[in-house]
Symmetry: C2
Subunit: 218 residues, 2 copies
DNA sequence: CAATATTGGAGAGTGTCGCTATCCAAGGGA
DNA sequence: TCCCTTGGATAGCGACACTCTCCAATATTG
């Protein structure tokens, strides 16, 4: 297909596709002349992956670029590695506190202990590990550490959810599409969890601080 | 204190404070002359709240403005209302699907049913309600609906966590400080939850797709 | 008291991000 | 044949969150 059809089928404007081509996020089409090229299904999948990363995963294009680069080079790479690269790129980096900070050290130990206790097989360098520790340290510093009870209860729920997430994967589908699905499922579940948390919080706040008939927000 | 001291104690540059003053995010100091004004502790709390919203809550200044406006006007407003305004402003708005979308309708009903079942007292217009529905609808559409088992298990965990969140609140502390703490605790817990979820996912991926010695990501 | 530094206030400028618009010449389709 | 689309490249734009520069009016310090 030509660029206009690719645009129509992907919902991405021609100008934006050209921009992605220039940036190397989408591989060039097969040139059929000085001013013509042909695109295929792979290009369509790629565009959908990019949109999923940007719109659902809220990733900056630079990170999208890291992911597509891995996709385009490590064709034979195993799926676990590819998933790792993708999820690592999607992770927001926490502003890491100073090395010597006692709250930080304690939080790291707590995170490690929890991971060990659950027997989770994660790399030492996983950004999620640091993110967890940073979150624990921050609440610590405010004087209200997260209770281990809650942490455990969430961890258990997360375990089940993660297992479920992966059933979405068809190892034989195109990689672009596989990643697209994983990104969407992961991001959406996180949205759902955050939403649940806020709803629960609103309920708790209504019961603690609300008036009998809670006029509530907005 | 004068602006330079306010800057030093808050860690926000003088230029930025001036900018916040111009934008009305921070109330003006008490003028003591044509080119002089005095600032107090309230200004310090306000700056810390703003930084918490921006850095931890990742809120755009426009939303911060909505929150500070509420703070500055509704001094007598009850805490529940103020919390509502704050958390509503922090909520990312989901791109709401078309009205007629069947997945959307079904997801909304599921969300409402869950809330009703748990007996949560949340307003009909709560953005978290829409966010939850949007997340459910998105995974639905991909063909992998979130299981109610997982949803319930997360909801239960969220309930406990939310209860805990509120113990951070001292109803007699300055409102700016109270909001700052709630924002930090809420945002950080959400980070922790997301991190747990990703760690669990990495573990699941390692077990399903990894090689015996999982070289993993990055 | 004089020299120097700081302040409030306002406007313009900066850097990043993710596009979007404009041009142009070479093909392609009717 | 004649017009429309395309690829390719360059420049421009709008939002955002500052940051810089000026200025005249104080404060502070010696």
């Amino acid at each position: 297909m030509r660029i206009s059809e690719l645009s129509r089928r992907s919902g991405v404007s021609v100008a934006t596709i050209k921009y992605y081509l220039r940036e190397g996020l989408v591989p060039k089409g097969e040139a059929t002349g000085a001013t013509q090229a042909r695109y295929g299904e792979a290009h369509l999948h790629r565009l959908r992956l990019i949109r999923a990363l940007v719109e659902v995963g809220d990733a900056p294009l630079a990170k999208v670029h890291a992911i597509t680069a891995a996709l385009d080079s490590a064709d034979g790479g195993d799926l676990h590695r590819l998933l790792g690269i993708t999820m690592y790129a999607l992770a927001p980096e926490p502003h890491r506190p100073a090395e010597g900070d006692p709250a930080w050290t304690a939080a790291q130990e707590e995170a490690d202990a929890l991971i060990a206790e659950l027997g989770w097989r994660v790399t030492r360098s996983s950004p999620a590990r640091g993110r967890l520790a940073a979150a624990l340290a921050a609440t610590d510093r405010i004087g209200r550490p997260v209770s281990t009870r809650i942490l455990r209860s969430y961890a258990r729920a997360a375990e089940i959810a993660a297992e479920d997430d992966l059933t979405v994967i068809d190892p034989d589908a195109p990689r672009d599409q596989t990643l697209e699905h994983v990104v969407i499922v992961t991001a959406r579940l996180e949205q759902a969890l955050a939403a649940l948390h806020r709803l629960a919080q609103e309920d708790a706040s209504a019961r603690s601080f609300g008036r009998p008939r809670p006029g509530a927000g907005a």
